[in-house]
Assembly symmetry: C2
Homo-oligomer: 284 residues x 2
């Protein structure tokens, strides 16, 4: 039977605006103390999508009265050169947060580069140590997209405790950390991936479904349980998420659109972490 009422569209653009409004006040208070929160972004190479993401993040900083320092490195940069650039930013007391745009070119040891970021400037939540702090529930800066997903759930007052959350994807910066965050909030969590058998049935058992796969329209409407909450962390070429939005709209109780869902809240979370870092470092 078709649902007569439409689902709740989880408006990430509005959630992000609210976060940024609260941040604007804190940026003003920091300005009175002579502190401008500064996010350094590092882009290695010239991948157009990556360049766009970095630009969006830098612009978002500047619109909020924050500083954005943009480091552009040649696509042939070595791991050692990249780590040297990161170390310089670690030492620079005017830089409060460091974001290494990924993926990085293949010759670079991405994990080594992430882990070169000082933990108190790891506002993107990519370090190995930060991952575990988040897994144990005491990270200063959890990975931004997982944190954005939790922020949306909380903004809309969607209950998590005791619910069955199904996470599709297991990357170190998205699937794994969001699974652990949902677990720490007392969801029962199932993590699925490319080797999962019977994926549709498992997704269909989820009260909360998080799509973090990187494949356009991968999650189909007939997989979703009637009344599920669907969070789409995917962002594929053509402004398409990992969820077949039109199909899932017919089944879900609540759903994030793409664009204007998880994406803007991820950027707002990055800004929030950078302001947090500026307040911490500024008051140290």
């Amino acid at each position: 039977m078709a649902k007569t009422e439409g689902p709740l569209i989880l408006d990430g653009a509005r959630v992000a605006r609210d976060i940024k409004e609260r941040l604007a006040e804190r940026v003003n208070l920091l300005a009175e103390r002579g502190i401008t929160p500064c996010l350094a972004t590092i882009l290695v190479g010239d991948d157009p999508a990556s360049a766009t993401y970095v630009r969006m993040k830098g612009n978002a900083c500047e619109r909020l009265g924050m500083e954005s320092r943009r480091i552009q490195l040649d696509r042939s940069t070595t791991t050692e050169q990249l780590i040297a650039a990161i170390r310089e930013l670690n030492e620079d007391s005017s830089v409060h947060g460091i974001l290494l745009q990924h993926p990085v070119p293949h010759q670079i040891d991405e994990r080594a580069a992430f882990d070169a970021i000082r933990i108190d400037k790891d506002v993107d939540g990519v370090t190995t140590l930060g991952f575990a702090q988040n897994a144990f529930g005491f990270a200063a800066y959890p990975s931004c997209t997982p944190a954005a997903i939790m922020a949306i759930l909380d903004d809309y007052g969607i209950p998590i405790e005791g619910k069955h959350a199904v996470v599709v994807g297991r990357s170190p910066i998205l699937g794994k950390p969001v699974s652990l965050m949902l677990l720490n909030r007392n969801a029962t969590v199932t993590v699925c991936h490319s080797k999962t058998q019977g994926l549709a049935d498992i997704v269909g058992s989820g009260d909360i479904v998080v799509a973090a796969v990187g494949k356009p329209k991968f999650i189909r409407g007939d997989w979703i349980r009637e009344g599920a909450v669907v969070l789409d962390a995917g962002y594929n070429p053509g402004n398409v998420g990992d969820v077949d939005y039109e199909e899932c709209l017919l089944k879900a109780a609540a759903i994030t659109p793409v664009p204007a869902g998880v994406g803007p809240v991820t950027i707002a979370t990055l800004l929030k972490h950078t302001v947090d870092a500026a307040e911490r470092i500024g008051s140290a």
Copy 2:
């Protein structure tokens, strides 16, 4: 219908013996180089069960020709005093592995104490950083009980990839790391806990069930799917696991007994990590 054939009893005592036999050769090779692998154990207070565990680990070292250094601290020890004792062992080049027996008395910040252990001596796999390295699949010393569970599965050639593993428990040294290890081996993993709703049904959907709850005979036979593989990481007073062994025996395809299941393999894993550390430090 009752099963006519009995399940496979996963003989942890035998798996542990095999591991220790292989270790004995490596201990001999180290002895030729003048190196005796040394595990330092720290016991705070006089809890009889903890004292027994520490003694078992120390004795297991000595039976293998390894050294065991036993540090006994008063039950009123502060976090600072404990960390000072750990730092001394960190600096002591004759000590290759450090084990802090837990739980520690309530006045101690257990997490801070764990994280005072140098990562290259964290043979018990309890540090925050070690947890994340394990989550990402490159830890030198994963938490011992999870590693023991994986060793038993591998010893018996039990397939993991594509299977649905249900882990009951989410502690930082057992439920969470074993979930991530199963995930890294391509199982689909569901993590359950005290707030899980419909626990019996979820356990019943598991091809592999790991009990890490700390409640005697908590997992009942009628929860288990016919043909499941059941791993019992519990060890409760009276030599009873977290699984109702007699009941589950009638349903499982394979099951670990308690005692002589996961426990002895956990100790063998600790010894193995200590020998690994002695080889690494010895050759540095």
